[in-house]
Amino acid sequence: MSTFNSADIAAFNGGVWVFCEQRQGTMMPTSFELISEGRKLADELGTKLYGILLGHNIEGIAKELGGYGADGVYVCDHPLLENYTTDGYTKVICDVVAEYKPEMMLIGATNIGRDLGPRCAARLHTGLCADCTHLDVDMGIYKDFLREASTLAPEKIDGLNTAMVLGEKHDVSRDLKMTRPAFGGHLMASIICPRFRPAMATVRPGVMKKAPFDQAKADACEIIKPNFSLTEDDMDTQVVEVVKAAKKLVDLIGADVVVSVGRGISKDVEGGIKLAEELAEVLGGVVGGSRATIDSGWLSADHQVGQTGKTVHPKIYVALGISGAIQHKAGMQDSECIIAVNKNETAPIFEIADYGICGDLFKVTPMLIEAIKAAKAAK
């Protein structure tokens, strides 16, 4: 590390790197997403893409990364790396980065990535942008993205070729433009790291698209085993156990998705609830109900959304056969995305729904379940 100087930008010609997180020998899905995204960035820069993989007895899973676009993988295998530790991983990554000098480094914004990223960036004295949802190098592509996803004036977007950095105009065309939400998503910001390398980003899992797998590229993927040293003395924390939890029950308030049913299920209560459960399952959420369903004894009281029930603000709220009485709306109107299915096109629920389908929930819901399954499989 003694010769390492993160400000010597020209020296950082080691390509784009992706920290490929594995847990218990299984690659985290986000590693493939980031390799796919990293490929795009490396191509825009005209450089190579490498994964960096840490663990113990994990060489066997390295080549698969090639199938998604990695030119090579730095494999750091050591018994002390078997479980993730901040100290062990930071030491090894920083040593290898200092040696090979990547231009950029992406890390999945998992609970581990967001522990590791800032510690490495601090040690390397470089910039890190957290939890990015969009990454660009090429200015044309970046500006197209802004035209689509921002309310910035066109002339402002056109003029984004330079940034004032310490009082001087800096050309941002080769910088990684790291875009992320702030203030709870009310504001977006594009961040650059103009003076230090590698430019680092943690990237929100699930946002980047995984490329199609290519076996030939996987076979061609180069495995590199860098030198590093790691001893017990480097370890300040001790992992006593790693516990994989069964999927825990989520309550209405904490749920990301709530699928609620209303009086509209009355002609087949059991069937209606079963459909809601199935839809909740494909969306990764829980079932709720309007007051009518609770008062009729169709669902237990803990399911009630509304004035006298619970107030929820999930990412997705699906209202099946709920008219949208004021006391129901009071409990769910702040949901990020409201989807309503109701036979009555004048139902008040449609006034606050982001997406409304006027139809019989017993017919629409099964089709919606299939469509969502298909859309998820296509991702």
Partner: protein
């Protein structure tokens, strides 16, 4: 034994958030609150104080009005407060902020049986970076995402949450822990605490207080010391009024699923 807790005053982004015509945030439209995860860190510290008699010191970097937040935490039971405030510190990104806070914590002093605590992340920036970066700059081991903390002698056993489970980690003091809301339920201020909080020790560290620390250098703090720059900030296009999808058939459902997929909602 001493527990130093880092806290931040943030705009409350949970309610309605107003955006100025130029795309910046209208901070005046939002109430200033103590960052929620930081209150979990405060609660963890106060719980340890009850068990061990440790002194709880709270430290925050921010403008002078952040005093109100610090007084409220004193009213919850913390023993003394430090506000790190100075023009020289303005414009700091997470790297520079952690540099300054690390210097402030050095000034307070980290001894062998001390613990530094932070919230996992602040709701304004949502970076979760300052805690780990302070740990790096103080040379302390870190455990983030703490959902349970037990202390026996100089060893802490911490339940560190993962998306798909958790790890149990042992670490010795001194160390830094970042706390999540699953860790505890923060207590309220007490009436007695409120009527005492303005007579508890309160200090302001400015540039001159910290300037002799090796971490503090014009090239490591403020705008100049920040490796990252904001190229631009913008608001996403406003959410349109509700949209009725045509029909109620397979095609309609596929269209809706497509929209949700495009918005990364599924």
């Amino acid at each position: 034994m001493k527990i130093i807790v880092c806290v931040k005053q943030v705009p409350d982004t949970s309610g309605k958030v107003a955006v100025n015509p130029d795309g910046t945030l209208n901070r005046a439209s939002m109430a200033a609150i103590t960052n929620p995860d930081d209150l979990n860190a405060v609660e963890a510290a106060l719980t340890l104080k009850e068990q061990t008699g440790a002194e709880v010191v709270i430290v925050s970097m921010g403008p002078p009005p952040a005093e109100a937040m610090l007084r409220e935490i004193l009213a919850r039971g913390a023993d003394r407060a430090v506000l790190v405030s100075g023009r020289e510190f303005g414009g700091s990104d997470t790297y520079a902020t952690s540099q300054i806070l690390a210097a402030a914590i050095n000034k307070i002093g980290v001894e062998d049986d001390d613990i530094v605590m932070c919230g996992r992340q602040a709701i304004d920036g949502d970076t979760a970076q300052v805690g780990p970066q302070i740990a790096e700059k103080l040379g302390l081991p870190q455990v983030s995402y703490a959902a349970d903390i037990k202390k026996e002698g100089d060893t802490l056993t911490i339940k560190r949450m993962l998306e798909d489970g958790y790890m149990t980690i042992k670490v010795k003091t001194p160390c830094l822990i970042t706390c999540i809301k699953e860790l505890n339920v923060p207590r309220y201020m007490s009436v007695g605490g409120i009527f005492e909080c303005y007579s508890k020790p309160y200090e302001v560290f400015d540039y001159n207080t910290l300037k002799d620390d090796p971490l503090i250098d014009p090239a490591t703090i403020g705008l100049k010391g920040s490796p990252t720059n904001i190229l631009t900030s913008f608001t996403p296009p406003q959410k349109g009024a509700g949209m009725m999808l045509e029909g109620a058939d397979k095609e309609t459902c596929e269209k809706l699923a497509g929209i949700l997929a495009a918005k990364h909602m599924i």
